[in-house]
């Protein structure tokens, strides 16, 4: 049986609420809270934008309003981006092994080109040759 709620808070009493019966039909239909947007936050000018989380919104403008409130309410913020999650293409983690050999590609890194040994050996050799 549904009973009227008696609260310590007069504002709640003014709502005239009644107890909710367990097992009653769902309050929210599917998609009632809209779709999702991915939020990217830039702390300072010159920094990169970093993915910080998501918001639910019916469109980009409201997504931005929620993003400001959720990800910009303390600390520094220079800029925010919001992107409809549908427009993000992501790799599957199951395919992570496609990158397994990249740490071994030293020919792509500055550290892969060490020549000081050669130079030292050359100078050593030269100094002997020119010594009378």
């Amino acid at each position: 049986m549904s009973v009227e709620i008696q609260s310590l808070d007069p504002r709640i009493n003014r709502l005239g609420l009644h107890t909710h019966e367990p097992g009653s039909p769902d309050t929210l239909p599917p998609h009632d809270h809209w779709g999702t947007y991915q939020v990217f936050h830039q702390k300072k000018r010159g920094d990169r934008h970093t993915a910080v989380g998501i918001v639910h919104a019916p469109g980009a403008e409201l997504a931005m309003a929620y993003a400001k409130e959720q990800f910009g309410r303390r600390g520094e913020t220079a800029n925010l981006w919001v992107v409809d999650t549908r427009h993000v293409m992501a790799l599957d983690y199951a395919d992570q092994d496609m990158f397994a050999t990249t740490p071994e590609k030293s020919y792509r890194d500055p550290g892969g080109y060490k020549v000081n040994d050669k130079i030292d050996a050359y100078r050593e050799k030269m100094s002997h040759e020119h010594t009378p």
């Binding site: 009973v3 769902d26 239909p29 599917p30 999702t36 019916p58 992501a90 983690y93």
Partner: protein, 328 residues
Amino acid sequence: MYGGGYIPKEEARKAVVNDDPEMLAAFEERVARGEKVEPRDWMPTEYRRQLIRMIEQHAHSDIIGALPEGTWITRAPGFRRKLALMAKVQDEVGHAQLLYSAAETLGKSREAMINDLINGKSKYSNVFNYPAKTWADVAVIGFLIDAAAIVNQVANSKGSYGPYCRALERICYEESFHLKQGHSVFVYLATGTPLQRSMLQDALNRWWKPIMHFFGPSDEMSEHTLTLMKWKVKMATNDDMRQQFLSLYVPKIQELGLSLPDAELRKDPDSGKWLFGDPDWAEFFAVIRGNGPCNAERLAVRKAAEVNGAWVRKALQQADARYVTPLA
């Protein structure tokens, strides 16, 4: 703020579903190496189910937890206290938003979670089923409930599920502000007029039992519980977290000359463990089943918020919009 990684007995006794043994072995190796699990990874059925249950409960606790404190915003003593309380309550709702998002990545929609909350199918922290009768309750909640929540959340932030850990990292940072402002209100009342002090002592007496309940009763160390610990879903036992909380905060209460309503509470010098009287677990279970002083009010207020906002959400709905599971 949140109540416990407590696994109810009926959950702890469930058999673990048999998943593909090869995938399971690879998953367990990944977790043992300290690697995080990400949303679209293969994961054991039970891992997904328990994480949804836990993160969802955590989110519900934050959104319901905003209610007992929110009621004091209009009556906060002074402008700075009002600003602080508004910021704290907004943070709690923000935490719910972050946590619902983390749970959504596991495949349950936010609408489904809120429906289950309103219908009493999923739980939230028991402490929020008690009323905040005076301004001193705001001090006790902000200081001690948030402190207990931090103990729990710091443990969980080292868990294995990436999106939950990331949400908790941010949440723990904000909770430390809550704890500090709660402690400030607490100290001001404790060192204030005799009336302020007695108001605080009264609030402490009323809240001590729910605080002792916060981490839940001792865990049932079933095979199921041990599996969840191996998978880094449950990061510490309820008893260990309660001991940690008592060690950190009982001295901070006692240094202000306040008492706690448990004659048996003391630290055993030999074991270094806190001993305490029976915190009335029968009451804990009764409140979980829906028979606490404020269960009905909390759910009715939550439902009213959703129902009263429905026409706005509908008016803003766009025809081409479609729900997709968030990425992380």
